[in-house]
């Protein structure tokens, strides 16, 4: 008999007491010894029965509360969420949104980890971008989203993943791209001036 037996015995005894109290209250009328006026035995039984009923109800409530507290402490019962349903739904939605979107800091860290070996290693030892294992699971998801939004060049041959040259060549490529971007911006300004 574990702790369950303890609480059950308390509840059963309190229930038995409640039945006894009801019996005490009803007996004077059931057995008819109340018929000759309010006998002292009748008064005694009624007073004792009603007091016993109150005691037994309080005892049952106390045992129930103690049992629920123990079950909650053991993790069997979960604490119910308090507050209106709208607030609970909003809280759940907020938790789901946080789980679905990637943290920008994590994405940047993963990108840095991906690009670091390309810039540091010599050109012949530089690994291809496609061979690098993603550090975080959020990076492929971001790449897939970008590929879905931005279409690739139509003239590009579909022979496989393009690898950016590492080392000084890669830096030269990036510098030439930046120069092209500056030219484009200058051209746009001139068009606006016209």
């Amino acid at each position: 008999m574990g702790s369950t037996g303890r609480y059950l015995s308390g509840l059963c005894v309190a229930g038995l007491g409640l039945c006894g109290a009801a019996w005490l209250v009803l007996t004077p009328f059931a057995f008819g010894y109340q018929s000759r006026g309010w006998h002292t035995a009748t008064l005694t039984d009624l007073a004792t029965g009603s007091g016993l009923a109150v005691i037994c109800v309080i005892t049952m409530l106390a045992w129930t509360c103690a049992w629920r507290r123990t079950l909650r402490a053991d993790g069997v019962l979960s604490r119910p969420e308090r507050g209106p349903a709208r607030v609970r739904r909003r809280r759940e939605r907020g938790a789901g949104g946080q789980a679905g979107t990637a943290d920008p800091e994590q994405v940047l860290t993963a990108l840095r980890a991906l690009l670091a070996p390309m810039l540091d290693a010599p050109a012949e030892q530089a690994p291809a971008v496609a061979d690098v294992e993603p550090v975080l699971p959020a990076v492929p998801e971001v790449a897939a989203e970008v590929a879905a939004v931005v279409p690739g060049p139509r003239s590009a041959p579909e022979t496989g993943p393009q690898v950016m040259p590492a080392g000084p060549e890669g830096i030269a490529v990036i510098e030439s791209m930046l120069a092209g971007a500056e030219l484009l911006m200058t051209g746009c300004d001139e068009e606006e001036a016209w």
């Binding site: 303890r6 038995l16 005490l24 057995f31 010894y33 006998h39 016993l52 005892t59 509360c65």
Partner: protein, 86 residues
């Protein structure tokens, strides 16, 4: 606190049973030496049942509490002797 109220309720049941056994003689609706009336017989019987149930329930709950305390207490290592030599 709740446990104390619950145990106190069982003790109150025991006290109510004892009161029901004594009531016919205290309130004097059962004179000494006279044949027992129906009310006195019924009160003594119900009081005895209630007192027995309250006593049993109280000690059962107390035994369960003591068992819980023993289960939660840190167990002594097997290398240590208990201090009781056979």
């Amino acid at each position: 606190m709740v446990n104390k109220i619950a145990l106190g309720g069982l003790l109150a049941m025991l006290a109510a049973g004892a009161w029901l056994i004594a009531a016919p003689f205290v309130v004097r609706y059962q004179p000494a030496g006279a044949p027992w009336s129906g009310a006195a017989r019924m009160d003594v019987a119900v009081g005895a049942i209630l007192a027995a149930a309250g006593l049993t329930g109280f000690f059962a709950a107390l035994a369960g509490r003591v068992r819980e305390l023993y289960a939660r207490a840190p167990q002594p290592s097997p290398g240590l002797s208990s201090g009781i030599e056979s």
